[in-house]
Subunit: 381 residues, 2 copies
C-alpha cells in the first residue's frame, strides 16, 4: 500500500426511470438554468431528450440545448459549447449521453468559467474551477459519470488530450441501465474492452503486492466478461445490462488504483494517438492495442501476468492468459489487428510519433519512446 487521497463526491442514482429525478436534483442544488449537452440521433430518437426537457420544464429549469457531440469529442465543438454557456450564463452543464458527451460537457464546464481558451487546460494549465456537471448516462463504458477526467481531440493538431481535475467530478449522475438495452452489440463489445483496459493498466504497471486492489480488479474483469457474454446472447438481458453498467463505473472511479502507488496508462496513451488520427471507437482501438502491449510487457511483470491468467481464465501461464483475453475480444467481435480497423501497417510510425507526445505529457516518455511504441504496434499487425 502506498499513500493516497480518495475523494469521489459524485452522487449516483441508479435504476429504471431515474432520469425523472434530474429536475429535482438540479433544483436541490439551486440550479435554475442549464446547458443541455447531447450527441446525435440516439437520444432524440429514443425520446430520452424530450423526457428530460419535459422534466426540466416541470421543475422550472431554463435550458439551452447543445447537440452534436461527436463520438470522439472535438475541441472546435467544445469551444462552441463554451461560448453558448457564457452567452446564456447557465449555472450548470447537464450531459445526456455516453462518455463522449460527458467528457465534452466537463470541458465546457471548465471553459465556461475561464477567460482562457479551453484547450489550455488540456495542455497543462491547472483547472481551478468549473460549473457543476450533472449527467444522465446512456452508455456504460468510460466511467466518466463518476470521475474527474475529460478527453477531447484537437482535430487540427491531431492531439487527443485530457483534463484530470477534482473540479469536474459530476455532482449527480443518473444511471438507468434500461437506457443501455438498445446499445448495439459492437459498441457494447467496445465498452467491455474499455472497462477491462481501465483496470488492467494499473494492475500490470503498478508494483506488486497490493492484493486487495488486485482482487477488486479481478472481480471487475470477471463480471465484465460474464455480463458481456450474457448481453451478446440476449441484448436486453436486464440484470446483465445493469451489472455491466455499474461495473464499468467502478472500473474508473478511483477505487482500484487507491493505494497502488505509481502506475501508468500506456494502452490508453497509444490508443488515444490512434483514434486522434483515425476516429475509430476508443474500445475498438483498445482491443487492438491491449493484447499487443500485453505480449510486449509480459516479461517485465511475469508473476502478475501469471496471476491474471489463473484468476481470470484458470490458466497456468501468463502467455496463455493473454491469448485467452485476445480470443475473447475476437469472440465478442472487437478487432484485435490494425487491419481490422483499416489502419495500414505503414502508418505505425505516424501513430507512434503522435503517441510519443502523449507519453511525454503523461510522464512516461522515458519508458515509451516512439521506437518502443512502434515495436508494440507491430505486434498488432
Amino acid at each position: 500500500m502506498f499513500d493516497f487521497t480518495f475523494h469521489n463526491p459524485t452522487k449516483i442514482i441508479f435504476g429504471a426511470d431515474k432520469e425523472s429525478l434530474i429536475g429535482s436534483e438540479l433544483t436541490a442544488a439551486g440550479i435554475t438554468k442549464v446547458l443541455l449537452v447531447y450527441g446525435r440521433n440516439s437520444v432524440v430518437k429514443s425520446g430520452l431528450l424530450d423526457r428530460v426537457l419535459a422534466n426540466l420544464t416541470a421543475s422550472g429549469i431554463g435550458c439551452t440545448q447543445f447537440g452534436g457531440v461527436d463520438s470522439n469529442p472535438v475541441l472546435s465543438h467544445t469551444r462552441e459549447g463554451v461560448a453558448l454557456a457564457k452567452r446564456d450564463q447557465v449555472e450548470a452543464i447537464l450531459a445526456v449521453g455516453g462518455g463522449s458527451v460527458l467528457d465534452e460537457a466537463k470541458a465546457i464546464a471548465v471553459g465556461a468559467l475561464s477567460d482562457k481558451d479551453v484547450w489550455q487546460f488540456f495542455v497543462g494549465k491547472e483547472v481551478e474551477r468549473a460549473l457543476p456537471v450533472f449527467t444522465v448516462l446512456t452508455l456504460a463504458a468510460t466511467g466518466s459519470e463518476m470521475n474527474g477526467n475529460s478527453v477531447v481531440t484537437n482535430a487540427e493538431t491531431k492531439q487527443k488530450y485530457n483534463i484530470a481535475s477534482p473540479h469536474v467530478y459530476p455532482k449527480v449522475s443518473i444511471l438507468n441501465p434500461e437506457l443501455t438495452h438498445s446499445v448495439p452489440l459492437n459498441y457494447t463489445a467496445y465498452s467491455a474492452v474499455d472497462a477491462i483496459a481501465h483496470v488492467l493498466e494499473g494492475y500490470f504497471t503498478k508494483e506488486p503486492g497490493t492484493h486487495l486492489q488486485d482482487r477488486l480488479v479481478e472481480g471487475i474483469i470477471k463480471t465484465v466478461i460474464e455480463t458481456t457474454d450474457l448481453i451478446m446472447a440476449e441484448p436486453s438481458h436486464a440484470k446483465a445490462r445493469a451489472s455491466f453498467m455499474w461495473t464499468a463505473t467502478l472500473a474508473l472511479n478511483g477505487l482500484t488504483p487507491a493505494g497502488i502507488g505509481e502506475y501508468s496508462f500506456p494502452n490508453h496513451m497509444i490508443e488515444h494517438a490512434m483514434s486522434a488520427i483515425y476516429n475509430i471507437p476508443h474500445g475498438a482501438g483498445l482491443s487492438i492495442v491491449l493484447p499487443a502491449w500485453m505480449k510486449w510487457y509480459e516479461a517485465k511483470n511475469p508473476s502478475q501476468f501469471a496471476r491474471f491468467a489463473k484468476e481470470i481464465f484458470g490458466l497456468d501461464s501468463g502467455k496463455a492468459g493473454i491469448a485467452a483475453l485476445e480470443q475473447w475480444f475476437v469472440t465478442i467481435k472487437s478487432p484485435v489487428r490494425l487491419a481490422e480497423a483499416e489502419i495500414p501497417a505503414t502508418d505505425i510510425e505516424k501513430i507512434a510519433e503522435n503517441a510519443e507526445g502523449l507519453a511525454k505529457q503523461w510522464g512516461i516518455g522515458g519508458l515509451y519512446p516512439k521506437e518502443t511504441i512502434a515495436e508494440i504496434l507491430r505486434l498488432a499487425v
Copy 2:
C-alpha cells in the same frame, strides 16, 4: 441488480504522518473552532493527541478537548459532549481515535444542532443536520471513518442503537496505518471479525445473483484473512497493517451493498444486544454470534454458503466453509463460544429479549422473534 443511490462524499487521506494535515483541512473548510473527542489513554500515551493539538494551534484553530469515550460509547457521555459543543459553539467535531470515538463524535455532531435530546435520533427521529465531522483514525475496524453510521449505548435502558444518516459522513478522514501498529493483537483479531461480519451480512441475506458485489466481498474477506495472519506473525508489518486498514474501510462504506437490494444485519443485531448488556468488544461478540448464525441460516441459502466455502477456503461444502471460518477465529484467538466471553448460557433469553427490540427497529422482527434468536445463541454454547 436493484435500484440504489450511492453517495459517499468523505475525503480519505491515507498514509504515514497524514494527521499533520488536519489543521489545513479544517482551515480549508472554514472551521475555526472544534470539539476534539477522544477516548482514554492510548492517544495520550502515544503522543498523538499532543501532535494533533499542536497542529490545531499552528493552524489557529480553537479547540475544546473532550476525552473519556468508552469502547462501547454511552449516551450519558455523549450528552456531555453535546452540552460542551453547544456551550463553546464549536463549528465542527474532530474525532481522534477508533470507531467508538468516531461514533460518539457523530452523535455529538447531531445533538449539537438540535434542541431535542440526542437519544431521540437513535429511536426514530430523522437527522436533518449535523456539525461537520473530521476524523483521525487509530483503529481499523468499524468503517465509521467513511460511512453515516453511529452506534451508542443507552446504559440505563440497555439499548445499543444506531443513527444512519447522510449528514454524519465525515468530511475528511485521515488514515495513518502506522497509528495502528500498536493495536494489541486481540483487538486486531476483533477488528478482523468486525470487517468480515460487515460484508457477510449482506452477502448471505440478499437475493442471489449480484456477482460483482459477491466478488467485492470475497476480495475483502480474503484480504482481511491474509493481512490478519501477517499481522499476527509480525504486529508492525507495515504493508499488512496498511492494507488491513483500507480493507476495513471498504467493508462498510456502502460499496458492497450498492445494488444488492434488500438485506439485513442479523449478526450485528444480536451482537449489539450482547454488548449492550456485557460490555464485551464488538468484534469478540461477533465472532461468537457469526458462526452460530451461519449454522442456523445455511439451509436458507445453501448455494451462497457453498460459494463462500469454495471462494474463501477452497472447500466443497457450505458447512465446511462455516467450520473453516470458525476455526480461523479460534486461530486468531477471537472467542467463538459464549462461555469464552463469560456469558452464561442461562442469560440467552435475556439477550434474545434485548435483541428482539432491535430486530423490530431494523424491520426484521418477523424473521427474528426472540425464540429464534435464542435458538441461534444456543448454537454458541
